[in-house]
């Protein structure tokens, strides 16, 4: 039996990797992927919690997160596509029209 703390550790590592990827990468698709990794890190943490403490609610939440993540990915990709059509680019530096 692998201790729950390993799963938590993995979850944290994945989450930090997601954050790092989000901040270091410059194109939107990679950033979206980083967001997905962070979401899944959260999923992993929930599952580890559910497993270790027989807490079923956490598993239910995971299903919600998967649904939301799917929807988010769909909308996110659609937005990226529209942005690309307009700006011919998906680099984040090119999107500064909201500058104050």
């Amino acid at each position: 039996m692998i201790p729950a703390s390993y799963f938590f550790l993995l979850s944290v590592v994945l989450f930090v990797l997601g954050i790092i990827a989000f901040f270091l990468k410059r194109d939107l698709i990679t950033q979206l992927m980083a967001v997905e990794i962070m979401l899944n890190a959260a999923n992993l943490a929930f599952l580890a919690l559910a497993k270790s403490s027989n807490f079923l609610d956490a598993q239910v939440i995971v299903f919600f997160i998967i649904t939301v993540a799917a929807a988010e990915a769909a909308i996110g990709l659609a937005i990226v596509m529209l942005i690309f059509r307009q700006k011919k680019s998906i680099k984040t530096e090119d999107m500064r029209s909201m500058k104050g």
Binding site: R96, M98, K99, G100
Partner: protein, 633 residues
Amino acid sequence: MTEIFWLIPFVPAASALVLILFGRRLPKRYVSFQACGAVFVSFGLAAFSFFGLLNTSPEHGPLIKTLFSWIGVGAFKAGFSFQFDPLSAIMALVVTGVGFLIHIYSVGYMSQDKGYTRYFAHLNLFTFAMLVLVLASNMVLMFVGWEGVGLCSYLLIGFWFEKPSAAKAGMKAFIVNRIGDAGFILGILFLVMTVGSSEFSAIAAAVGNGLLSQGLATLIAILLFIGACGKSAQLPLHVWLPDAMEGPTPVSALIHAATMVTAGVYMVARLNVLYTFSGTVGPIIALVGALTAVFAATMALVQNDIKRVLAYSTISQLGYMFIGCGVGAYAAGIFHLYTHAFFKSLLFLAAGSVIHALSGEQDMRRMGGLKKYLPWTYPVFLVGAVAIAGVPFLSGFFSKDAILTRAFGQRQYVIWVLGLAGAVMTAFYMFRLIFLTFYGVERLDPEAKKHLHESPKVMTVPLAILAFFSITAGYVGLPAVLGKKADVFGRFLEPVIKPAAEGHLGLGTEWFLILISVVVALLGIFIAHTFYLKKPGIPHGLVARFPRIYKLIYNKYYVDEIYDGAVINPLITGSEWIYAHFDLKVVDGTVNNSASAVGFFGKILSYLQTGLVKDYALIFLLGIVIFIGVLLF
């Protein structure tokens, strides 16, 4: 049944309300009917209450009707309450009676005016305010009427507001009155502070039981008299009345001759207990009145505008009323007020008839020889002039004589001599007016002469009625030489105005004084006759001889110019200076600078808004890290 007197002011008020709200849709005939009818009903009620008053014994005290409690602050209470006693009865009868005739006259005079309904609405409103003034049973409600008539006066002077001079005159009247009213309000406040009530009965009681010290009474009396000076156009606040002639002539007759301007006299007579008690204020009032009487009369001597002559004459006659109040002859002052209401409104309305006949001409230099064209106006004008000049057997003689006799009896010889001088000038300028207007060569504008016509019946009949009263009104107050009982008017007023100890004048002295009055009146007429009919060269000769004096008087002693120089221009330049230095720099500066400070900090903060999603996310992250950090440690 005699309680219904409180309805007197409300009938014109209701009429005014209807005319203001629905007047536009009402036919002209109905408007005239309602406006005149309302005042007539008021007059009927006043007459009814008056006869009721005659039948009750004077010991009964004044009738008081409290409609509702209006102000209640701590111990101070002011009710919306009316009082009916001999003094208010006379005032109410004069206001509604003369007012009714002037309403009727206005139907003819204003028939061509496009503001017909507005005119009658304001005239009704004025009647209401004036009746509130004279029927109020406390100073606070009286002040409501006092300001109400001021407002209506403003509205009616500026009735032809398209004319800049009329609009200006209205504002001038209002502003000059404000100066007096400041004193009036202070007087009321002092009264309320010391007496604890502004009811007339409470004031009289406070004087009686020593609640009011003499010094304080003097202060209050003077402050209130300042208010009276403003309203009744006494020196030095007389400047608004001549300009008020910009209004329609019936308005001048009603407001600026018969009723509103006499409010000051009424107020002093109403508070006669206070004024008698204060002692020192009386001579001041008498002196102000006498100076005004003479000063205004001199200005009337040289005016060429027919209405302005009458305006100065009104100021002068108001001076006589104040002489009466000042020497303790309050009843005589009110008596003069009452006779003056008839003959002065008669003179104004007759002047209006002349102006009407000449298609709006007011300059006497373009009149003359009108006697044969105006067979109705001329005799009534003559009656009014004779009455005001103080020719025996007409009303003005009795009232003016009563005042002057009393002044002599009080050993106020300076006042008496000034009064006589004013009387000579009164007779002179009135007959100058008559001779210039109705006699001599015609100097008419040919265009005006084509339309020359006598006024319609609706105007001449009120004139005839007023002429009748100008002759007969004096017989209720005959001089004491004809017997102790002769002064019906004074005895009627006794419940309100305690007759002071008579300055015992011998029968011979009294006759002598009457003789002097007669001589003085006839002298004035004689001089006018010589100057303007027999030898028309004399006035021009005098002008050529004393050009400085003539210019001084003709320009009204430069009082307006002095006020312009001493008060108005410094105010304007001061205001401009404050505008340039305080408003523009301090006030606007504060607003503008705080706005630009906000803008400046906004600009700085806006550097945080890079538009890059990544930066925002970084801030999120930082926020979360700080948040968790705080939670953990």
